[in-house]
């Protein structure tokens, strides 16, 4: 991709990264990077009930998920996890939206929404199963109304749309919320999902985390207009929110959820944020992005921003900071314990759950493999716990 005439060319900076000069779509902000609460005629309404106590709670959530992220990264470096996809920098996007949902809403996310999973009440050990290689999915989706992370880029947006069509058929007022990144907006599935959601006016929220990078590819390679503007072409109303501003994210998500519940159909939210870490622990961003860019975005850090607001309000007491730190440490310790004490899967588990009912092909292979293992005198091979189910 070469440079172009519309101001996107050359090195990406926070000023132009993913920001089209061709459009005037407003970036919703309720807290400035300096921590000043600024009022907004339309969106103040959606967070007017947020008390000081709740602000402190959001601060705690964001701090905790950053701590989870740091701990998981450490676990990967220590050889306890095979891989981890960090969310560093995206805490406001995940907490602001995750805390806007109801328990009966259903989330279909990518693999980076570990903070959203935390909001849904995921068991911390379950959060790591996939990344430790112990399972292909960490939890029972119905236990927290959140599908397990989707790795195929954008595929989950169709699942959310179909789920929302089901909600419609049921006459319920729940909402399906799907998370995906800036790169995913180029995928056919995401575009098809928007077509279907618009045609059926399905109660689905498309939450696009524009973190500016799809592994090594900058957002300008995906789009020369704001990602939010793409939605309008499908007839879906869209919002651009400052993804490092937890209140802006929450306000935008609440508006979208409310619209869907009232039968107003889908909404597309572009949360403009930044992936401060690597794509995964296997990635090396120094090969493709400028260190200055990271520095610029560090100045917009979502947690420092909320901390500054709390400070201005006299809420950032030593007591609060200590309480939040203790909570984060205890969550991290619990997660580490769950990770290192997780029992390894047994060899014959590999055959489980391929089908819901017996399958003659698989039963034969399972039987033969059990005999093979048993030929080494390995008792695990001789035992088939559940049959080929």
């Amino acid at each position: 991709m070469s440079t172009d005439e519309t101001g996107h060319g050359g090195a990406i900076t926070p000023d132009n990264a993913g920001e089209s000069t061709a459009s005037g779509q407003e970036l919703l902000q309720l807290i400035t990077p300096e921590g000043e609460r600024i009022s907004h005629p339309e969106f103040d309404f959606w967070v007017k009930d947020i008390t000081d106590e709740q602000l402190c709670s959001l601060f705690e959530d964001m701090t905790v998920i950053r701590r989870i992220d740091v701990e998981a990264t450490a676990l990967q470096r220590q050889g306890e996890l095979a891989l981890w996809p960090p969310l560093l920098g995206q805490e406001a996007s995940q907490i602001g939206s995750g805390r806007a949902m109801r328990a009966d809403d259903f989330v279909f996310s990518s693999y980076r929404e570990n903070g959203v999973a935390y909001c849904r009440g995921v068991d911390l050990t379950d959060l790591l199963r996939v990344w430790r290689g112990n399972a292909s999915g960490g939890w029972d989706p119905y236990s927290i109304n959140m599908a397990t992370p989707q790795i195929i880029i954008g595929a989950q947006t169709l699942h959310a749309t179909g789920y929302a069509m089901g909600i419609q058929n049921d006459g319920a007022d729940a909402v399906a919320v799907t998370y995906f990144g800036d790169g995913a907006t180029s995928e056919g599935d995401v575009n098809e999902a928007m077509v279907f959601a618009a045609s059926f006016q399905a109660p689905v929220v498309f939450f696009c985390t524009n973190n500016h990078w799809a592994i090594s590819e900058p957002v300008r390679l995906q789009s020369h207009i704001h990602l939010a503007e793409r939605a309008t072409g499908f007839g879906i109303p869209s919002l651009r929110v400052d993804g490092n501003d937890v209140l802006a994210v929450m306000a935008g998500t609440r508006l979208a959820l409310d619209r869907a519940r009232r039968g107003g159909g889908p909404t597309f939210i572009e949360a403009v944020t930044y992936r401060m870490g690597p794509h995964t622990t296997a990635d090396d961003p120094t090969r493709y992005r400028d260190a200055n860019e990271l520095e610029d975005w560090a100045a917009k850090d979502p947690i420092s921003r909320l901390a500054s607001l709390l400070d201005r309000k006299g809420l950032l007491t030593a007591e609060l900071q200590e309480q939040v730190r203790r909570k984060a440490d205890s969550v991290a310790a619990e997660m580490r314990r769950g990770c290192t004490t997780m029992p390894d899967p047994q060899p014959m588990d590999v055959f489980k759950h391929v089908y819901s009912a017996p399958n003659s092909w698989l039963e034969r292979q399972q039987d033969h493999y059990a005999r093979y293992l048993a030929s080494f005198g390995d008792p695990a091979g001789a035992v088939s716990e559940e049959g080929a189910r």
């Binding site: 999915g137 595929a155 699942h159 789920y163 045609s199 819901s356 092909w361 189910r389």
Partner: protein, 336 residues
């Protein structure tokens, strides 16, 4: 018993499923007012409403992908792919999502999705309308694959597929849509032959002839013709392509000692290869000759004026039977 065409038999089966389970929903292109391009869903939208028989935008990946979401929500979606050659845009959703979600979620999420696919050639249509893509799906773990060959099975198996908690690819031989047959609509589903069982259609002693879908009729005709020459063929309608009911095929081959398998799909890596290999493994000491495959060629489905050269017909099947029996045949004198 009612005389029904193949297409009406599927229609009746769909109707029965829609009536008996409010969670059954149909999705597809042109399946509503038009009743599908083959009229298989004729009248269903009128009787069950637009929320249960849904005309979708033209996007196969989305049709299957939204079916996944509906299944998450507790529905039993029945998806129509308009033609075999149109299924490929949905390939990722089928292979990476539909087939794997039960495994991925350790059994927590079931995918009771039925994907109906009119398949096979012989109708004189342009490219992409006559393909036999079944082996892509039989090779994909997590899916069940069936191909029906007659109106009674079409009626019964569609209901079995819909009530199955696993995803099912249901292949319909489109050139047989207008064939008529007796259908017993009163028979209980519970007493029907299970969906994953093969059926022996004619008992024979000289060779086992395995077919499925559109070629079952051709195989039966071949058996009749062979009988005129004093050759006794045991014709097996495979019905289930994944898993194959090997017990049935093994029992037959142990008796006849010879195997011929036929399908419209190309030969290399096809289902016939799988059947031949598995039967060789299991029946080696019972075989009197190498298994024989009579299949379409390894070519893109050809233009219609030549399609009858590509499709195995009665005479090519009988030539294959001659090979299995060591009788003079088109390849006599060739090694290997």
């Amino acid at each position: 018993m009612t005389q029904l065409t193949f297409a009406r038999a599927i229609n009746a089966g769909l109707r029965k499923s829609l009536e008996s389970d409010s969670k059954v929903v149909l999705l597809g292109e042109d399946i509503g007012a038009l009743g599908g391009v083959f009229r298989v869903t004729d009248g269903l939208q009128k009787d069950f409403g637009t929320h249960r028989v849904v005309d979708t935008p033209l996007a196969e990946s989305a049709i299957v992908g939204t079916a996944v979401g509906l299944a998450y929500r507790g529905y039993r979606p029945v998806v129509e792919i308009q033609f075999d050659g149109f299924i490929y845009p949905a390939f990722d959703q089928i292979v990476s999502q539909v087939a794997k979600l039960h495994y991925r979620t350790r059994g927590a999420v079931k995918m009771p999705i039925t994907i109906r696919v009119p398949f096979g050639g012989g109708i004189g249509s342009p490219e992409h309308h006559s393909e036999s893509p079944e082996a892509y799906f039989t090779h994909t773990s997590g899916l069940r694959v069936v191909a029906v060959s007659n109106p009674q099975d079409a009626y019964t198996v569609i209901q079995q597929a819909i009530s199955c908690d696993d995803p099912v690819l249901y292949f319909e031989p489109k050139r047989r849509y207008h064939d008529k047959g007796e259908v017993d609509e009163s028979a209980a589903l519970s007493s029907a032959l299970p969906m994953d069982k093969a059926r022996v259609l004619t008992e024979g002693t000289d060779a086992t002839l395995v077919a499925y879908g559109p070629l079952v009729k051709t195989a039966l005709d071949a058996a009749t013709a062979a009988a005129d020459e004093g050759i006794s063929l045991e014709v097996i309608d495979l019905r289930s392509l994944a898993p194959v009911d090997y017990d049935a095929v093994v029992a037959s081959v142990r008796k006849t000692g010879r195997l011929v398998v036929t399908h419209e799909a190309g030969q290399s890596g096809g289902l016939g290869a799988e059947v031949a290999a598995s039967i060789t493994e299991r029946c080696f000491y019972h075989l009197e000759a190498a298994p024989v495959r009579v299949t379409g060629f390894d070519i893109p489905y050809p233009y219609s004026k030549l399609e009858m050269h590509h499709l195995p017909g009665l005479d090519r099947i009988l030539d294959g039977v001659d090979r299995a029996l060591g009788r003079p045949n088109s390849l006599s004198g060739l090694e290997g």
